[in-house]
């Protein structure tokens, strides 16, 4: 195998297309990675970054596309082929065996007899050469997240890879660890290797990368050297080109303008003051968030995956207690979580029992099921849930009808406040409209509504006020898709935004 000189193209991808059912995850994506470089692969949620790298690592066979490795065309059939060629990948969710030691984890996938001493020596050797601190005899489950990640990296390096793909490596790390990892990535590439860094943190990408490729809806929309660009232009590319407003977007703007005329002046219903949420690993997911949601308004939140919105919404709906800061919320807050199968429904129970689930924790004595049957029947009618009756199991309903049921149930139970998370995920156009109508009606009836959606158009369409969440910090923004988009990517929004209680 010939070595590729620094600067020459190591991996080249051209015209990659792949559809999952009717969803086009990749739509002609291309990418060129040079030896000795850090290549940042950027894009919104669902832009196709991870899908493209799964193709490179042999986890997915793309329907179309040409891949070249060191100048010769190849087809990657499996991760072991990728590893044999020198391509390693560290997934966002670790693939370590928690009860095994570091050395055992790294020896997994090898051949022949396992010799603990040789395995440990190998780990010390690889980690030492790479400049990573790692105890080969520590059990993975006892390690902090940062060390687990180093274990994943060493596991890839131990297979002699020259191209390392890192999928959102800083997402789980505390800021100091993240900075340390980025410095390591730089050093590793300077030693003649190549790194593909999948991220939606613009700042990280610009700080460490040589080259930048931006994907939008499965297509490569920007390829540039990092030094030739800035946050604003990369953010524009990630959002699909700021100047590429389609007719429907213009409509959205009009709706927005009309909405603005509505007077919003109810009393505050949901109040957060300097609220911080810290997990068991010491990572802050919400950092000193301050927010007031008034009766009769919809507050929209824009954020990329893992920016802390998951925790923020659960604090607002009373499902999670803040680590510090003060919170004032009504006794019962309606909550529509994004994963309704996991967090909202009993799929094998009849609909009337699903209605009764709301508030089940505080109920006493005998349940009047006939009352719940009647209430469910009324709910099906009122929220246009297409089901043959209150007796059918929730599993038999379509996603849209399940969502309407959950939304209806929460609206019936909580009169003051509603928190919704990705409410139209997996729904078709008609169902999405129905869900939007119900949210507007709740707002007009005087409820305080908080909406998070990974679809910025949806946020801007429904919300009266919008906030961007980036890296745990909540910032109010003007109601403009592009300004909000840049803010949630950590970009500067200048006069357009007001930082509230954030120390950044």
């Amino acid at each position: 195998m010939t070595t590729v000189p620094t600067g020459a193209v190591l991996l080249s991808l051209d015209g990659f297309t792949h559809a999952f059912g009717r969803v086009r995850a990749l739509d002609g994506a291309s990418l060129q990675v040079r030896a000795g470089s850090v290549h940042a692969l950027l894009g919104e949620n669902g832009a196709g970054k991870t899908t493209l790298m799964r193709v490179v690592f042999g986890l997915l066979r793309a329907q179309q596309g040409v891949m070249q490795w060191r100048g010769s065309p190849i087809t990657m059939r499996s991760p072991s082929e990728a590893l044999a060629l020198g391509i390693g990948m560290v997934h966002q969710h670790f693939t370590l065996v928690p009860t095994m030691t570091v050395a055992e984890n790294i020896a997994l996938g090898g051949h022949g007899a396992f010799d603990p001493h040789r395995a440990a020596d190998r780990v010390r050797d690889v980690a030492g050469t790479a400049g990573l601190v790692l105890d080969p005899h520590a059990r993975v489950q006892d390690l902090p997240v940062g060390a687990q990640q180093r274990c994943e990296i060493v596991k890839a390096l131990a297979r002699d890879v020259t191209l390392l793909i890192l999928d959102e490596p800083t997402a789980v790390l505390a800021p100091a660890e993240a900075a340390e990892l980025l410095r390591w990535i730089r050093r590793y590439a300077d030693a003649g290797n190549a790194v593909v860094l999948i991220t939606h943190k613009l700042r990280d990408a610009l700080a460490v990368a040589d080259d930048i490729t931006v994907l939008h809806r499965g297509r490569t929309v920007l390829t540039t050297a990092a030094r030739d660009t800035d946050q604003a232009s990369v953010a524009d590319a990630m959002l699909g080109g700021a100047r590429a407003l389609s007719a429907s977007d213009t409509d959205v703007v009009n709706v927005v303008v009309n909405d603005r005329a509505r007077a919003v002046s109810g009393p505050p219903v949901l109040t957060l003051d300097a609220v911080t949420v810290r997990d068991a690993n010491g990572v802050d997911h919400v950092r000193s968030a301050t927010l007031q949601v008034r009766a009769g308004e919809i507050v929209g939140i824009g954020a990329v995956e893992g920016a802390g919105q998951h925790e923020l919404l659960r604090v607002l709906s009373g499902r999670l207690s803040p680590t510090s800061g003060s919170r004032t919320i009504p006794e019962s807050v309606g909550f529509v979580p994004e994963d309704r199968h996991r967090d909202a429904l009993l799929l094998d129970a009849p609909l009337f029992e699903n209605t009764a689930l709301q508030g089940a924790g505080a109920r006493h004595g005998v349940i009047d099921w006939n009352d719940f049957r009647a209430r469910t029947a009324a709910l099906l009618q009122r929220f246009d849930v297409r089901a043959s009756g209150a007796e059918v199991r929730a599993r038999t309903l379509s996603g849209g009808n399940q969502q309407k049921l959950v939304l209806g149930r929460e609206l019936e139970a909580a009169r003051e406040a509603l928190v919704v998370e990705n409410p139209s995920r997996g729904l078709d156009f008609v169902a999405t409209n129905a869900v939007h109508q119900a949210m507007r009606a709740a707002r007009d009836a005087g409820m305080a509504v908080v909406l998070y959606s990974s679809d910025l158009d949806e946020v801007v369409l429904l919300a009266d006020r919008v906030f961007a969440m980036h890296d745990g910090i909540l910032i109010e923004s003007v109601k403009d898709r592009d300004v909000l988009g840049r803010a949630m990517l950590g970009g500067d929004i200048g006069d357009a935004g007001v930082a509230l209680g954030a120390d950044a």
Binding site: R319, P337, D343, L346, P350, E353, L357, A360, V366
Partner: protein, 348 residues
Amino acid sequence: MTALRAFAATTVRVVVLLAIALAMLAALLIATGHDVVPALSAMVRGAFGSYYAITSATIVRMVPLALAGLAVSVAFRAGILNIGAEGQLLVGAAAATAISGTLVGVPWSIGIPVMLLAGAIAGGAWAAIAGALRLRFGVLEVISTIMLNFVAQYLTGWLVRGPLQEPTQVNPQSATLVPELHMPVLLEGTRLHAGVLLVVVVAIGVWWWLRSTASGFRLRAVGATPTAAASAGGIDVPRTMFGAFLVSGLLAGLAGSVEYTGITYALYENFSPGYGYTAIAVALLARLHPLGVLATALLFGALQAGANAMQRDAGVPSVVVSVVEALLILLVMAADRWRPSRADETGT
């Protein structure tokens, strides 16, 4: 109505399963070189062949199987794999035995409830150990309850050689319960005792509790989808699970004390012929439905009564029937997996 339908559906299942069981048994008998007809007829006679067989063999075995089966059903409904009904049953019997010594001269109307209650409480406490291990330290109850079964078994062995041994100290067993404290016999000349009425009442009670009460609904919700129960229902999941451990253990403990006061009148080492393990099959065959448990317990009661008769009268080892029981469970679980329509599982 729905309850009746569920009960009818289970009964149909039981009849079908009985036919399959007999067919498998016949095949097994041929394979092991036994004469099919005399063996099977001995078995049927032993289970249903006479008034005495039905009342004193089949139904008498159904009682502990049904109570322990209810225990397993409650736990499984909450998503708890309590394999420890056997141990909870033994501890319940031991507690009833221990307290019976203090009940000399007490009228039966007080003495029997006290013994039954003691057994139930002991069974609940035994299950609470596994519950605490699970909820405090994350020890899987599948492991801990099996281990506690061994502990209970050896504990019983020690008790009947030590503190609870009969005064003559000849055999490793407890003193026989005074006749005044025996569970009333329902039909003169048989072993059919009032425990069978108790079982029916308890089954209906458990069914009603799961179906109609707020706490029963919480238990089912936690068993169905714990994340949704916590998030959408605001249900305290660990607390609900601990409650399910307690109730499950209580029922299994009651099975032990009913067996002691109604049938054995003494505690000894092999007090239970694996009722607590067979109860898992009883519960699964009934698809965890409390009323269905009555029917499946009767099926297993008949199988075991018949197996004894077959061994006695036709010289066929009764373990052949155990093989059939195991095959039945596998069959039912595979069938459930294959056809996942479980509308009758919601307890309504």
